[in-house]
């Protein structure tokens, strides 16, 4: 299993200041400390929708890489997004899922199908051509850069464990200042 912060740091090494990144819930609180940047798109409005926001961003700005850092519980709430994204086929969209088998932000209860569901398998069946799954940090670190240089849509499942307690100040994700900062930064890019 991959420690989430270490897995995110491996991604961050290949993320530029011009990239749009959409991290969700627990991943978001780790990510915004690893890569504080106004092009982090943090306000998703309802659980499960980050990848759909990402599709809109990717279609609207095909010149920019759009990277989703999803959760397994979140993806389960919006599985159709895999089919929709595969059909729309944005070349600039990268969908990572941090799989820890729990609804971590909602009390740590297990997700349905924990340990049996294959998110990579579902992405492949939905029509994604470039699909990966990692549970070893060193192997992921070696391949992360090449994966982020591929033509999207790309799907990557990271088998992770939490990096420990977090201070969850949701105003850092949902506050109007966050969306204004993103809008201003995207407009200037």
């Amino acid at each position: 299993m991959i420690d989430r912060k270490q897995g995110l740091a491996a991604i961050a090494r290949h993320v530029t200041d011009a990239d749009i990144v959409l991290p969700v819930y627990s991943t978001a609180f780790d990510w915004i400390d690893i890569r504080p940047n106004p092009l982090n798109y943090l306000s998703h409005g309802a659980m499960g929708l980050a990848s759909s926001h990402a599709l809109g961003l990717a279609l609207g700005r095909p010149d920019k890489r759009v990277i989703v850092l999803d959760g397994d519980g979140s993806l389960l709430m919006n599985l159709g997004t895999l089919v929709t994204t595969a059909e729309a086929a944005p070349k600039n969209l990268f969908h990572f899922v941090c799989e820890n088998g729990t609804y971590e932000a909602n009390g740590g209860h297990p997700i349905p199908g924990r340990g049996h569901v294959s998110f990579a398998g579902m992405a492949r069946s939905a029509g994604y051509k470039n699909v990966y799954e990692f549970s070893d940090l060193k192997i992921f670190e070696q391949q992360a850069g090449a994966i982020l240089a591929e033509q999207g849509p790309v799907f990557v499942c990271l088998k992770i464990v939490s990096s420990g307690d977090q201070e969850r100040d949701y105003s850092r994700l949902h506050g109007p200042h966050v969306r204004k900062a993103f809008r201003d930064a995207l407009g200037a890019n």
């Binding site: 809109g56 961003l57 929709t84 407009g187």
Partner: protein, 179 residues
């Protein structure tokens, strides 16, 4: 709000041209139509829209996806239109609440009213699933407009322009099958 509460049920209405609606959609600067098929708008709107490259049609699996796709598009300066049925609107209320209303985003929804009787205003419909739509939108503070005959089509572009100018959601209720 342009709801016409109090209008007598069973009034005579003219037809509704799908091509006129498409002209309004295009003149409103809509670049993406995001849709789950709706039987009211299936033949007169969605099928001809699917033949166009501009606006581009994005077929989605569930309506709440579309709310978020249109939100993402809005941040890029592109205009999306969510074309769905009222059943999908009802299914997506939490997404509309969180994304469109609480974030003040210009999510434009064109909603076919399944089983609404032609010439009957939605509030006066005998169908529960139709009758509740406007009160729910009122409760959510979302602007809406009834588009039931060709004379109503002129409301579309100003409604979409206002949604983007004010950064607020809007719903366009399609009250009969466009030809």
């Amino acid at each position: 709000m342009s709801a016409s509460a109090g209008v007598a049920a069973g009034r005579t209405v003219a037809g509704l041209s799908g091509q006129s609606i498409i002209r309004e959609i295009k003149s409103s600067g809509i670049q993406f139509v995001v849709s789950v098929p709706d039987i009211t708008t299936s033949e007169g709107l969605l099928r001809p829209l699917a033949k166009l490259t501009d606006p581009r049609l994005i077929r989605i699996c569930k309506e709440d996806e579309g709310v978020a796709i249109c939100a993402g598009l809005s941040f890029t300066g592109k205009r999306g239109l969510l074309l769905i049925q009222q059943t999908g609107l009802l299914d997506s209320i939490n997404a509309v609440r969180g994304v469109a209303v609480e974030y003040n985003l210009p999510i434009c929804m064109m909603v076919g009213l399944l089983e609404k009787e032609v010439g009957v205003m939605p509030r006066q419909s005998k169908r529960y699933g139709v009758r509740i739509v406007e009160p729910i939108l009122d409760a959510m503070g979302i602007a809406y407009h009834n588009i039931e005959e060709d004379g109503d089509v002129g409301k579309i572009r100003p409604a979409i322009d206002k949604a983007f100018a004010d950064s607020k959601p809007v719903v366009l209720l399609i009250g009969q099958r466009p030809s």
